[in-house]
Symmetry: C2
Subunit: 277 residues, 2 copies
């Protein structure tokens, strides 16, 4: 696409992402470099975005694939400060939700097509199933990721807010969501505060994530040990506790309490009109 990226930059970007387990360098361009250099940002300046930015992000989002062109997602821009305060509280007091100039909530939305079916005298039999909720959530995720790539290509930063699922019903009530819709995650967009951008976070080696032909877990314990060392050093450099990745996963998923209400997600979705059959 460009040819302007130097091999050094590519090597450095891959090394930042993978540490010692850097994969071989393949094809590369500025779009790919932008994605590989992604970091989630949790501190924003109040500076407004250029006019038309939201419409461009939505155009990118809508251009992602959507299952059978059903388009079972929507997005709500939340500008009102009282509504932002609710979102911040639901998400465990994440202040960047209040700070960022643009805050979006992406919805799984089967309600729109359900309303259409009723209006046409053909109520949709297919929407009460888990499949419909999954399709809607995947549609929303594909759309959101295009918006993220678009935002970052414009020099903006982002962070997803999965913690809106701590209280999916309160989010729905605050945004006036009709039946068959639910917020699956939020997204902050804006310019990072000084120091908020941080380092690229290392990921598990490709050998752990990418399987050839059949799933192969044989190398995962050794790969995890190496990654634990990478993540411990990364955490220490970034002034967090020098935890291993293993310790963090156990902290996050080890107990029901750590889910902070998300153990009730199925019940919340059923109350919002997703039977999940």
């Amino acid at each position: 696409m460009d040819g302007m990226t130097s091999p050094t930059t590519q090597q450095a970007a891959l090394a930042a992402r993978y540490g010692a387990a850097t994969p071989p360098a393949g094809p590369w361009n500025a779009t790919i470099a932008g994605m590989v250099e992604h970091r989630s940002v949790r501190g924003y300046r109040p500076d407004p975005l250029p006019p038309g930015t939201l419409e461009t992000l939505v155009a990118a989002a809508q251009s992602a694939a959507t299952s059978s062109n059903l388009q079972t997602w929507s997005v709500v821009e939340v500008a009102d400060s009282a509504a932002r305060a609710v979102m911040t509280e639901v998400a465990g007091n994440q202040q960047h939700i209040l700070e960022c100039p643009l805050f979006l909530v992406f919805l799984a939305d089967v309600g729109r097509n359900e309303r259409m079916g009723i209006a046409e005298g053909k109520p949709l039999e297919g929407t009460p199933f888990l499949e419909a909720f999954l399709v809607a959530s995947i549609d929303a995720a594909l759309a959101a990721q295009n918006a993220v790539v678009a935002a970052e290509s414009l020099g903006l930063s982002t962070v997803y807010i999965g913690a809106l699922r701590n209280d999916t019903q309160r989010v729905a009530a605050t945004l006036g969501l009709p039946p068959g819709t639910a917020g699956v995650f939020g997204l902050c967009v804006g310019y990072p505060k000084a120091g908020a951008e941080g380092e690229v976070k290392p990921r598990l080696p490709q050998s752990t994530i990418l399987h050839r032909g059949r799933y192969d877990a044989s190398g995962e314990t050794a790969a995890r040990a190496a990654y634990d060392a990478e993540m411990s050093a990364f955490s220490q450099r970034n002034e967090m506790a020098a935890d291993t990745w293993t310790a963090r996963v156990i902290a996050r998923n080890g107990t029901i309490k750590a889910l902070r209400g998300r153990d009730m997600l199925a019940a919340a979705l059923r109350a919002l009109g997703f039977p999940l059959k």
Copy 2:
């Protein structure tokens, strides 16, 4: 990011995506143009991809955000022709699965972290919940979309294969998936056959998808009528039946039979080790 895209190109790209409901032109660059010009391609030449392409796509995929850095997704490259034939059959005989030089199956994978918890003597209490499956599916979708954007930026085409969920258990058996993993969709990658690229598919107007402050369904019926006319003309131009969007959604979701087995998804996932509590 570039500044080389002309306003004409931007206007044309937005018009192709939205028809008469083209939104105002905001910030723009080559990365965004690439996304807005996306089309799913269902016919591939056998030409192999440049060396290192898969590793680059996986690097882009792993660079997407992942909830709490849990990284609960994996991807299987399916090269074996017998396995490709199974995938093709599961997906209702979609020949492009056999044709494309690279076929990937993206997995929701909580099994890896479950194995870690057991190995550490701390079985994870958080993984039997619907939340864990949803996080894993969203992780997989964000990763896959980065791979798609990366592939398309390299001049490759793609199409998602959601129809692998017609028989999630057969896909799992074919790929040797361990408990706590399931294929959520496939992805074809390659060079389009002559004539297979097609037109950009119009989407619903932004007014239907993007809500300001609160969900607002008041304009959706009028917007749908306009979109039905756009889609009917699009379908006719592309040698398909001149169906409206409304007719297609009803055909796809109107009956349980039209789900082609996906009404059994919840049962299939439970059998694969996702209790979905």
